[in-house]
């Protein structure tokens, strides 16, 4: 019953790239690891919507009917939007597009290959809670990337742990701009808006005319919440019916600084106007958090005391 699209086989030569293996598969695409002509690894995203079965063998993608061809080409527009969005952004915390081309009757996006794992995997792997230090580190850097995205008049609209990649050195990269949209050209509701329950803001469900930076801010807050809880907050549409979300401040009081918890609660406000209105405002709030008091060693305590008495 379930017919799926065939992935390109290992060592398949795609222009000047050699496919190594499939990394992941989503509703609209397959992502491969491949090597360019110098042997450097790259990630290649192949547009291949799974709802229109198009390739049951070989490499050429064929629409199975005239109507499917129309849908296929229409979906391609969204893939182009993602490419356009990313091509403009050259930032260490945003996935970098290296090339974009057409082959096999479909289109491909070549991205820089990153080593590491997603924040989602990080959350699931850990036995103990994530430290405040790590949460702050990841999100401060991520917000730098998101700020760059917003500067280009783009919204990500699908910020969640599965779309945040942690390099082996711990720095985050924002991935998957499949839902991104140019806010200046159009923010009309589309037929099939994409959103992830728990991470999508309430306005993404019911009020697409009110999308803005605060919409991504909600996703950031929900992702931070997930880092602490190891599960997503209650879905926004359900919250609008009956809000069961317990504030972060209530759950983790004492375990994390009040300010981190307050920031999470602020981002997760249902009313878009009550959230931080820009990434900058959010960064400022996080930056303002006083560093956790470290327990002073005996010597240091004595030193401090001495200095304060001397008046230095």
């Amino acid at each position: 019953m379930a017919v799926t699209n065939q992935a390109l086989p290992g060592s398949y030569q795609l222009l000047n790239y050699r496919i190594d293996r499939q990394i992941s598969r989503g509703g609209f695409s397959i992502v491969y690891r491949a090597f360019d002509e110098t042997g450097a690894p790259v990630a290649i995203k192949e547009y291949l919507p799974s709802s229109l079965v198009l390739r049951t063998e070989g490499d050429i993608v064929r629409a199975s009917s005239a109507e499917n061809l129309t849908s296929f080409r229409y979906g391609m527009k969204c893939f182009f939007e993602e490419g356009r969005a990313l091509a403009k952004i050259n930032h260490p915390n945003v996935v970098r597009v290296l090339n974009f081309f057409r082959a096999n009757e479909t289109v491909y996006m070549v991205m820089r290959y990153e080593r590491g794992r997603t924040l989602q995997q990080q959350i699931q792997m850990r036995q103990d809670q994530m430290s405040e230090r790590l949460v702050r580190h990841v999100f401060m850097h991520l917000l730098n990337g998101l700020r760059e995205v917003h500067t280009h008049k783009l919204l990500h609209l699908d910020i969640k742990p599965a779309n945040i990649y942690l390099r082996t050195d711990g720095s985050p990269v924002l991935l998957d701009f499949g839902a991104a949209r140019q806010t200046l050209t159009t923010n009309r509701p589309k037929l099939a808006p994409m959103y992830t329950p728990g991470f999508a803001a309430p306005e993404q469900y019911r009020d697409p005319d009110r999308l803005g930076p605060w919409t991504d801010v909600y996703g950031v807050g929900a992702s931070m919440f997930a880092c602490l809880a190891a599960f997503a907050p209650q879905a926004a549409d359900a919250r609008l019916q009956e809000d069961h979300l317990v504030s972060a401040k209530k759950i983790w009081s004492g375990q994390y600084s009040d300010n981190v918890l307050e920031v999470i609660d602020w981002c997760l406000r249902l009313d878009p106007l009550e959230r931080p209105q820009s990434v900058f405002a959010l960064q400022k709030a996080i930056r303002d958090i006083p560093p956790k008091k470290r327990k002073l060693t005996f010597i240091a305590a004595v030193k401090r005391k001495l200095f304060s008495e001397i008046g230095a």
């Binding site: 109507e67 356009r84 091509a87 952004i89 050259n90 509701p189």
Partner: protein, 305 residues
């Protein structure tokens, strides 16, 4: 759930078929949709297609595996379809918003819920008699209600195609919701466009469908109706569901228990005539694809440090 289902859409003697029909079901919920697009050019067809697709997509997002509130789902989906048609017209700078009628029904936990806009109908038959039906949002129905014309004069009335509520219209649609109705085994739900009900009285439809296996007689009924439509016949479409195990024939009925959680079975009728158009719609031409790629390539180069 166990039921037998049939759907068919025929062009009649028109060049294009502006009717769209579809059903989809999860393990525990069934959705039926019929839409009859209106207006010239491709507009009507697009409108009906958009409405049907929107219902199916929303259903698959929300029926996991049941809908929390079926009537609210129907009403919300109608309003969203109406809004989607408006924004579609906007996006493609169309002079006129594509419009469509819509009748839709949910069966969940042994109860039927339905909603309609315009003059596509739902009939619910039990043991050969009618126990539920929608009331058209049409001028002639109004005239009948006021006692100005008789029910038998409707199908020949000059204004029989005028409706006052539709999706995509200038004013918000009037949406009628059918109250929660318990179903019994053997009940038959028929949803159809005016191309069918204008040539077959509901008593005749009942005769065709309530005492014989629907998979056998429903196709015969459609052929007969198309024949009656004659040289001027409209598009005609119907979805027929016989609830419960099929007792009139050995043919197997649909049993949904084999579906896993989150799985759906969907049938969208593809009587598509839109293929004749030449890149005027949302379709991307080869040139546009090449252009888009060139643009992205150039952007990548420009922002490369």
């Amino acid at each position: 759930m166990r039921f037998t289902i049939f759907q068919e859409s025929r062009k009649g003697s028109r060049k294009v078929n502006q009717d769209r029909i579809a059903y989809t079901y999860s393990r525990d919920t069934l959705l039926l949709v019929v839409a009859d697009g209106m207006g010239g050019h491709a507009g009507g067809e697009i409108a009906a297609q958009i409405a049907v697709r929107l219902f199916i997509e929303r259903f698959q997002q929300e029926a996991k595996p049941v809908l929390k509130n079926p009537l609210k789902f129907l009403q919300d989906s109608m309003l969203r379809a109406h809004a989607a048609l408006g924004s579609y017209a906007n996006q493609f700078s169309m002079l006129e918003t594509p419009r469509t009628t819509c009748v839709t029904c949910i069966v969940q936990a042994g109860h039927a819920y339905w909603a309609h806009v315009g003059d596509s109908r739902l009939y619910l038959f039990r043991q050969g008699g009618i126990i539920g039906q929608t009331k058209d949002h049409s001028k002639v129905q109004y005239l009948v209600d006021q006692g100005i014309i008789g029910a038998d004069e409707v199908s020949a009335h000059p204004d029989r195609n005028k409706i006052f509520s539709c999706l995509g219209g200038l004013v918000d649609p009037v949406i009628d919701l059918g109250k929660r109705t318990p179903l019994r085994n053997g009940d038959v739900i028929v949803m159809c466009t005016d191309g069918l009900w204008s040539v077959l009285a509901k008593e005749e439809i009942a005769t065709w469908l309530t005492s014989t296996p629907i998979l056998k007689t429903a196709p015969q009924m459609m052929r007969e109706a198309e024949k009656r439509g004659g040289a001027d016949g409209d598009n005609l479409s119907a979805i027929v569901v016989r609830w419960g195990p099929e007792t009139l024939t050995d043919e197997p009925s649909t049993i949904t228990e084999s579906l896993g959680l989150g799985q759906f079975e969907t049938q969208i009728d593809r009587t598509l005539t839109l293929t004749e158009r030449k890149g005027t719609q949302r379709d991307l031409s080869d040139d546009e694809i090449e252009h888009a790629i060139a643009e992205i390539q150039a952007t990548i180069q420009r922002y490369r440090k």
